[in-house]
Subunit: 191 residues, 2 copies
């Protein structure tokens, strides 16, 4: 039994290992090779994913056919198209492993059963979403406030390991930069 989700839940609500044994039964563990895809754009989105190890990203294809990363999820983050998930509607997003990853997956139907049997999980997800929602608005504030160059430097200072671990072209699209421009910024750092 994986206890990583247990530790994450315990940050927000009070459960014991006995209740966790029941809770974990609603999740499916999934092992992903690099570039394995969990959801394809155009499909119905009815699952959410918790990253145990590795890194996932959600991307969409823009009007020019380019892949643009809209979200990353590393250890202890939830990822999906939350709006499509809420409505069980089609998503524009592809959710893919950036590197070898271990995730826990839960379907909408299973989550409803989980919440009904373990209402404490409503409190857990409320708090997880509160942080995610707040962070998404903060990200908008950064985009409105800082130049692309400043955003890269702030991102690198806040998440140095991340910038080194993730392929450069993904970091570039996440920050709204071209890979060429990001390459210039990184070489500035070295010089």
């Amino acid at each position: 039994m994986d206890i990583k989700l247990y530790h994450h839940i315990k940050r927000f609500v009070d459960i014991d290992t006995k209740e966790y044994e029941q809770i974990i039964g609603y999740f499916d563990p999934v092992t992903l090779a690099k570039k394995d895809t969990l959801i394809y754009g155009g499909e119905k989105c009815d699952k959410i994913y918790f990253v145990l190890e590795g890194c996932l990203h959600a991307y969409f294809i823009d009007n020019n056919g380019a892949e643009k990363t809209i979200q990353f999820a590393i250890k202890d983050w939830w990822i999906t198209d939350f709006l499509a998930y809420h409505h069980r509607s089609k998503t524009d997003f592809f959710i893919q492993a950036v590197e070898v990853s271990e995730v826990l997956c839960i379907s909408y139907a299973q989550q409803q059963k989980l919440l009904s049997c373990h209402p404490v999980m409503d409190s857990y997800f409320r708090q997880v979403y509160e942080i995610g929602y707040g962070a998404a608005i903060k990200r908008l504030q950064y985009i409105f406030t800082y130049s692309k160059e400043e955003i890269f430097y702030r991102f690198r200072d806040e998440f140095p390991e991340f910038v080194n671990r993730i392929p450069q072209y993904l970091v570039a699209t996440y920050l709204g930069l071209t890979p060429e421009y990001l390459s210039k910024l990184r070489s500035k750092k070295v010089s």
Copy 2:
């Protein structure tokens, strides 16, 4: 007793009017004149607001001293700096009435008591945040995908009443445009 929040809660969870009478007791009604401010940047953020009537916006002051609207909230929307609220930390945001407004306000301490006595509200807020979080990521996708001109036209087509009701300079900062550029776009529509 205001029943607008009752109808909103009923969209997501099952409560009766008797339980609602207890729930509404945790909220304070606030009447705002145009430009009245609920939270100032630099203050601790420990309240969330539900708009019954009118319109609020959250803005921050950018490096050039300009006010930039990061969120709007009209009828049936919740607004605050959710990340600061989660941590009861200082916010950069000012939350202000755009027009005469009626809101319900709840403090973090009161919300904790509400959730403890009425756990069904954990499910309500989980779902409200799920939609808000999903919508914030969709907004990022729009910013990454469309030109500023396209974003304005899409926004106008989706929320025509909104664009006519809200002062033009607020719509402009929300969309990341200058008021002058927005003015040009609007005049194109007329010609």
